[in-house]
């Protein structure tokens, strides 16, 4: 299958990042970067990785099912991740999460019918001192209030 030149460049770089005979090391990055571009880990992506780094499909399955960021089903174009872990919880992260569920009508890890938005309750994302924190795809949002969250979600809807 063909990837964007940017992804190909990333893959190329990965293939040169490890000692000889250690191509398997590229597995986790390839899966995540591939997913970033394709929206999910597709069977074609797996085939491609299998061929490039010489792992078995079973090994890929073992690995991709272990990591919580890796998905075989597409997420929404905007994946809204709300942290409810301890520091965020103390500052209302759980309420934000309830709000996101209510606003979008979605449940954890569900995708909206139009494929635009998906939501996930996540563990600590490393923004505890600026809690509660939300990540939309890879973008951090700190000290998020309900109002800000509404604005954020409105913005996502506009982006569609």
């Amino acid at each position: 299958m063909t990837f964007s030149p940017e992804l190909e460049a990333k893959f190329d770089k990965l293939m040169k990042s490890y000692p000889p005979g250690r191509l398997r090391s590229a597995l986790v990055p390839m899966l995540l970067f591939g997913q970033d571009e394709l929206g999910s880990i597709t069977p074609e992506l797996i085939d491609e990785i299998v061929n490039r780094i010489g792992v078995t499909r079973l090994q890929v399955q073992e690995v991709l099912s272990y990591y919580s960021m890796l998905h075989t089903k597409p997420l929404g174009r905007h994946h809204v991740q709300v942290c409810t872990n301890i520091s965020c919880l103390l500052r209302g992260g759980d309420k934000l999460w309830d709000h996101v569920c209510e606003r979008t009508g979605l449940k954890n890890k569900e995708v909206s019918a139009d494929g635009q938005v998906s939501i996930e309750e996540v563990e600590c994302i490393g923004a505890c001192s600026w809690a509660p924190a939300v990540q939309v795809n890879y973008d951090f949002h700190h000290n998020v209030t309900r109002e800000e969250l509404d604005r954020l979600l409105d913005g996502l809807e506009k982006k569609q």
């Binding site: 078995t56 499909r57 079973l58 090994q59 399955q61 073992e62 099912s65 272990y66």
Partner: protein, 695 residues
Amino acid sequence: MSDLVHLTIDGKPIEAPAGTLLIDAVRKYGIEIPAFCYYEGLALQAACRMCLVEVEKMPKLQTACTLPVAEGMVVRTETPVVADARKAMLELVLTNHPLDCPVCDKGGECELQDMTFRYGAGEGRFNETKQHIDEKQWSPVVFFDRPRCILCYRCVRICNEGMGVAALGIANRAVTSEIIPNEADHLNCDECGMCIDVCPVGALTSGPYRYKTRPWEMDHIATICAHCADGCKTTLGVRNNSIIRANNRDHSGLNGDFLCVKGRFAFDYGASQERLQTPLARVDGKLEPISWTRALKTIAAKFGEVRQRGGAFGVIGSNHTTNEENYYLQKFARQGLGTNNIDHHRTGDVITLIDALAGKGGQLATVEDIYNAPAVVVLGCDLSHQHPMLAYQLRANVRHHQAQIYPITPGPVREDNQATRSLRVDKGGEVEALGSLAAELKQAGGVVILYGDPVKGDAVRKLVDFGESLGVPVKYVALVDYSNSRGAIEMGLTPELLPGMTPSNTGGMRIGQMLASTDLDVLWVVGANPLKNRAALAGKPFLVVQDLFRTETAEQADIVLPAGSAYEKNGTVTNVCGQVQMLKKGIGAMGTKTDLDIFALLAKEMKLDLGPATPDALLAEIRTTVKGYDVVLAVLATGGAAMTGVNGPVAIDVPVDAIHSANDTMYTSGSISRYSKALTSLMEYPGELYSGKSK
């Protein structure tokens, strides 16, 4: 590693070689440390935490399965803290495990059940809902029940490390972790059932066996597998005169825990609907049932008459019958019928090897040697298909001793995955190719060479010359196909050789000549199917066939006698390496007689005096009269394997053109496999040699 260290365990002083794991070291002293994930010979996991023990000077409990013994170590395995830890682990693992032993297939031989009984707490304190997941069928023989799985990873390791198949993996994480098969919802694998065998609980169960019986309702009979030449020990689980399962229950014998798909599942051929249950005789061109008495009388009369008038006999023996049967059959032929026209299907060149090694001694490798040799070369054989147990031992050798291995084959083989170097050569070019490895093999300091049927005659001599030129200890195995191919040669089922590889110095027809001859008056075929891929006989001899089934050869017979299978008789067989082991009768089959009984009845009918014809008496005779077979009876009787000492020179011309392997895969077994439901159920892909794959 042979330095002994001294330690104290539960107050007792013990010693063990440095580097030994604590869990192994104490076993010798009768101390059992409970374990789920530890499995001898496989990678360490430290996952189940059952083996925690107290070690002085270490603040935390230690896992005995990963802790090497050390000088002065003080260990306690039965303190309240240890007992508490064991109880805790059991309570934890049972939180997601069904508590329904009475309906579980594993009930009665479950390690979790046993341990809970010994170390567990009475009452469970888990009041939450358990995860429910439906049971899955992964293959005709493998079923998986996730809730029963305790994630000891034995199955994953045995498949990966032991089998070299790697069909099982681990998916997800935390409490959702589970074992998964390689094809999403099913297995594409050897179907060996090793995973089922090692599973300590009822998570992996065997299609053919599950829910058929309870372990305590079976008799357990230790015998030898009836299929390939490797000679795996197996325990038949017998109930109501039928075999319900086969596994090597006590892990004794040459194979340890191993059985391949044939050994584990293909014990069922004897129970086939197509099994002969009565003698048949040709009446008006068709085979019709007759009584044993009439059949035997007819044959005896015919044999007597032909013998009387100096007519010609041909006798074709079997690669599956016992040493005692083979020995008696050649005696019958030579002394009773006065013929040297006796042969069997030859599948490998053992004879040239014995001759080429004349006077050297100790250069025939045993199965243990294959596990221990620093280097192993495999010439012209797809070992994982054709010799699954030798291949298993070889893989263990690589894992445990970092052996160097070198497959020299016409196509890819599983051994390539662990090979130091693989060479691809056309059949016949193996020995020549071997030359390029001389330096590496010398360096290794010891070699075992296994060769298949492409290496025969002069090639074997060249091979031995090469081996001798290395200047390091070299041992050999001439690979042959079936459960007693070695015994057929060594008990004198060839015209050239009497028992003990003593040249007969008498002419005699070989199989090909017998089948092509127009002069034979009688052709007597015992447990062989020479007409499988062949047109009818050239001549019109009186054809007597002893077999379990109406094979292609039986279909041509004048009289067919229903014979007993290897699971239905006592006796001994000699494996591919020349190691003798004892068969034990597991069941009887209606209407059949063992080949030996048939021979004896015929001899009696013909009033021949060929000596006693019981397995025991014949074994005694073989041990005293057959060169190389003076094996220790106690070894055999206790289920051991005794190496034979057959030695050259064997000054005959070996008919190399007569040597052909049947090239069975791991799913076929000569003519037998098509009568095994277990094998035919897997037969969608019977497998292909030199494809590097199972199927």
